[in-house]
């Protein structure tokens, strides 16, 4: 059984978001991590490795620095790492990203592809389902449990007030939530081994059956009109009113912010 996990290196927002003196986000000062949902997907794949002896390959698209998350995944137990990196792939939106990854995945044998539900820097949750569409395979989003049943996969899938037990024939793509499991730590020895292994690096020309017009900034249907870093708030308003007016003040604010 072969499992491919798509992972992304993202800035760490958990350990406190860093801001520049002007109140905008200081991306350079933030550490990078493996996207949490992707890490849960990797853990799910590694459990399939423990249980069924699955071969686990991790794929990432990004700058050369993204090699780090592949090493991390390998230090956790992934067998192979593939880095897809090329200048022409830069500036991709989810459409172009999913085209790129689909182009890489077409080179591989897989029974299962696992992606995280969404990345914490973009929060789109689009790339997984889009890859599955490009590859013409079924997708099951928001997996909470994964079992293998012969040539099929059975997934508990959460949405809103219910869950579905779904059965899909492999090959199939699953998107994982960070709630799916508690990812294992790397092991110290695994780290040193991971740096002894080779990482496969693919550029544009290694992508299979993808048009140039679907890649990078040029291949992205969506374009950014404006981006601004939200200025960090300091002290807000403070009012001293009688109780009734205080209540009205709060209700007004909640209404204004669509909480009510």
């Amino acid at each position: 059984m072969k499992v491919v996990v798509c992972i992304k290196q993202v800035p760490d927002t958990k350990g406190g978001v860093k801001f520049k003196p002007d109140g905008t986000l200081d991306r350079a000062a933030m550490l990078t991590i493996m996207n949490p949902d992707d890490k849960a997907g990797l853990e799910a794949a590694l459990r399939l490795k423990d249980q069924y002896g699955a071969e686990v390959t991790v794929v990432t698209m990004g700058l050369p620095k993204a090699e780090e998350v592949l090493r991390e995944a390998m230090a956790m137990g992934a067998d192979n790492g593939i880095l897809v990196t090329d200048r022409v792939l830069g500036g991709a939106d989810t459409w172009a990203t999913s085209q790129t990854l689909a182009g890489a995945l077409r080179n591989l044998d897989y029974d299962l592809i696992i992606t995280g539900r969404q990345a914490i820097d973009g929060d789109t949750a689009q790339v997984g389902p889009q890859i599955s569409e490009h590859l013409g395979i079924p997708v099951i989003s928001y997996a909470q449990e994964i079992q293998i049943d012969g040539d099929s996969v059975i997934v508990k899938r959460q949405y809103d007030d219910r869950y579905h037990m779904l059965k899909a024939k492999m090959p199939c793509l699953i998107t994982a939530l960070s709630e799916l499991n508690e990812p294992r730590y790397m092991t110290p020895g695994g780290i040193f081994d991971a740096y002894k292994k080779d990482i496969t690096v693919w550029g544009r020309n290694d992508l299979k059956d993808v048009l140039d017009s679907n890649l990078g900034l040029k291949g992205s249907p969506t374009q950014i009109a404006k981006a601004s870093d939200k200025v960090r708030k300091g002290a807000g308003e403070k009012v001293v009113l009688d109780p009734t007016a205080s209540v009205n003040y709060i209700v007004d604010k909640l209404t204004e912010k669509h909480v009510l």
């Binding site: 927002t13 989810t94 569409e133 079924p138």
Partner: protein, 349 residues
């Protein structure tokens, strides 16, 4: 792609168990705004099995037309047949704008549809406008008018981006539930109904639903709560937390507390916010009777909206609160609970 062929604002009228989801009505409401600017109409796309009866409510909330895709294969939500339904509608009717709720269903369906028809999709929008792209005339670049400008938070809400889809149609967005306003219901208002069935032949992309289980909500973790009603020593006694419980219930939130409250034995440790407790990041954080020691603030300062109620005007909590109210929590909180109940009742929730 001839962009001129694409006309009209379409919304996906999500239904679950043959009940129209609130987001469908919100999208119609917002769609009407956009349609006005574009001088066009709003079409709701209703997908399901035996859903014809739901067209009425869509009309009464403002849909000008409802396209009904009704097929037994569409009874429970499944990605493939629903994708086929929407992609077929888009191919046949060629909408200019297509909005989908950013619900669990919508965020699964939207990307698959846009991948199939080759267009862009902007996720989880909180604001939609019609305007020019680029926003200001740029040398060497054609400025297009009447574009859908989709604004969304990213990076856990730390950045805001406005996105356009100038070269592809439809312009698609998923829209965060609860942000857009539905229109007042207009009894008897009728939408034009059109039935459309592209044919559903199960293939290997259809997944089998083995079981559907409606979940029972379990004890809420304060780290998952969207709204936290947090109390400090100022609440005065464990019994008095009742007024916070009531506020939380009214607003749909969860009660949490400061360290002082845990130390006093009023509340268990797993409800404690702060450096020695949990770090939370809800949409709304009520700090009630909490002075705002640095250890507490470290655990909640990333909340989207912080509302503080404290009788001490110099309490440090006011340094981080968006909205600070100086006053007696015992007088304010019960009245606030009452007001919120009234507001919710009025909104028909």
């Amino acid at each position: 792609m001839n962009l001129e062929e694409y006309k009209g604002v379409y919304v996906f009228a999500q239904q679950v168990d043959n009940e129209v989801s609130s987001i469908a009505l919100e999208l119609i409401g917002k769609g009407k705004d956009l349609a006005k600017d574009l001088n066009t109409t709003v079409t709701a796309v209703l997908v399901g099995s035996n859903v014809m009866g739901l067209t009425e409510i869509l009309g009464e909330y403002g849909a000008d037309r409802v396209i009904v895709v009704d097929d037994p294969e569409l009874k429970e939500y499944r990605t493939e047949p629903y994708t086929h339904a929407l992609a077929s509608v888009i191919e046949k009717y060629k909408p200019d704008v297509f909005l989908i709720g950013a619900t669990a269903i919508g965020r699964d369906l939207g990307p698959r549809v846009c991948a199939r028809i080759h267009t862009g999709l902007t996720a989880d929008c909180t604001q939609l406008d019609i305007g020019d792209f680029p926003l200001v005339p740029t040398p060497g670049k054609e400025q297009k008018h009447n574009q859908l400008l989709m604004t969304r938070p990213a990076f856990g809400g730390n950045t805001i981006a406005t996105i356009a889809c100038p070269e592809f149609r439809p312009q698609m967005a998923t829209v965060r539930p609860g942000v857009m306003q539905k229109l007042p219901r207009e009894a008897g208002r009728k939408a034009e109904i059109e039935e459309f069935n592209p044919g559903f032949v199960p293939n290997e992309k259809y997944v089998e639903i083995m079981e559907v289980v409606k979940a029972v909500s379990n004890v809420a973790d304060i780290m998952d709560a969207k709204i936290l009603v947090s109390g400090g020593r100022g609440v005065g006694s464990p019994e008095n937390f009742k007024i916070l419980d009531e506020l939380a219930e009214a607003i749909g939130g969860t009660v949490s507390c400061s360290r002082a409250v845990v130390d006093a034995g009023w509340k268990p440790k797993d409800l404690q916010v702060g450096q020695t407790g949990k770090t939370v990041r809800p949409h709304v954080y009520f700090a009630i009777g909490i002075s705002g020691a640095i250890q507490h603030v470290a655990g909640m300062e990333e909340s989207d909206i912080i509302i503080a109620i404290n009788k001490d005007e110099s309490a440090p909590i006011f340094d981080v609160a968006d909205y600070g109210v100086v006053g007696d929590l015992n007088k304010i909180v019960p009245v606030l609970t009452q007001k919120i109940k009234e507001a919710k009742a009025a909104a028909g929730k």
